[in-house]
């Protein structure tokens, strides 16, 4: 690949991040809710980025991060509801929340289609989330100015 192009693009991104020019972001959540702060910091980062006028191309959930997507979580009433928080943010800003299918299958995160395919008696995916493949993560890397990982 031509080195000049690469350098030029790198500069553009740096300028964008230095100033207030909006950038296109991909966010990757690698850890489960409540167990690990990464699910909170990813959310706070997303909120802050949107407030600043940046675009969020996609939020991708991988590893135990897929557990953010179960609508069956029932945290204590005086605690934050991590799934609802994601679903509300997605609805408000029309965000694309993607759960990795391979990681979801291992951990029992199902939508209706997966439920039928695997002959299970229930599904648990929350509103605003969709299950898809790892290609969605790679595509985010290609399309975004920055791909930001939250995890250990």
């Amino acid at each position: 690949m031509p080195a000049n192009n690469k350098k030029r693009r790198g500069c553009i991104v740096k300028q964008q991040l230095a100033g207030d020019e909006p950038v296109k972001l991909g966010i990757v959540v690698l850890e489960g809710p409540y167990q690990h702060e990464a699910a909170d910091t990813a959310y706070n980062f997303a909120v802050a980025a949107l407030e600043k006028g940046h675009e969020i191309f996609r939020i991708f959930f991988y590893h135990d991060g897929v557990n953010n997507a179960t609508r069956l979580m029932v945290p204590p009433q005086d605690d934050r509801h991590i799934q609802q928080r994601w679903s509300e943010l997605a609805e408000k800003h029309n965000l694309d929340l993607v759960v990795c299918v391979a990681a979801a299958q291992r951990r029992g995160i199902m939508d209706e289609e997966e439920q039928k395919r695997h002959g299970k008696d229930a599904n648990n995916i929350a509103p605003g989330f969709r299950i898809s493949g790892l290609g969605q993560l790679i595509e985010a890397g290609i399309q975004c100015d920055r791909l930001v990982f939250f995890g250990d």
């Binding site: 690949m1 690469k6 990681a103 890397g141 290609i142 399309q143 990982f149």
Partner: protein
């Protein structure tokens, strides 16, 4: 999606005990189909992923080490291993898997994919990457 980006997969965790290494490898293998410029970095406990001779029989988990040796078949020819991480763990290049690729610019000669780099060089490799996937 016309422009090729430099993807760097950063592997920092031991192969067993958590699922990070296995699921990272799954991303690498899927990502190979997207025809980007891909490199892998191994540092910290991640260097243990490349130590040859895994025996997972008593762990009750699948031995996925053969997948690393297949990386060359996925056109992945740049595997950076941090020297300091090896030394801190009493390891050397001799302890690592032989990972090779066929160099299409050199009559498909089989060459080692592993490049031992210093911590300083690793920092530069990260600076040069367009996309860092950190597992």
């Amino acid at each position: 999606m016309s422009e090729v980006k430099n993807f760097l997969y950063v592997n920092r965790k031991a192969p067993h005990g958590t699922i990070y290494a296995l699921e990272s490898l799954e991303v690498v293998l899927i990502g190979a189909a997207f025809e980007q410029d891909v490199a892998l970095a191994f540092l910290d406990d991640g260097v243990f992923q490349l130590v040859k001779g895994w025996d997972t029989s008593e762990l009750g988990v699948k031995n996925f080490q053969p997948a690393y040796t297949a990386l060359g078949d996925y056109d992945i020819s740049k595997i950076y291993v941090e020297r300091e991480s090896l030394e801190e763990r009493g390891l050397s290049e001799d302890d690592l898997l032989e990972l090779t690729y066929e160099d299409e610019d050199d009559d498909w000669a089989e060459k080692s994919s592993i490049r031992i780099v210093s911590r300083e060089e690793m920092a530069q490799i990260m600076r040069d990457a367009d996309v860092i996937l950190s597992f």
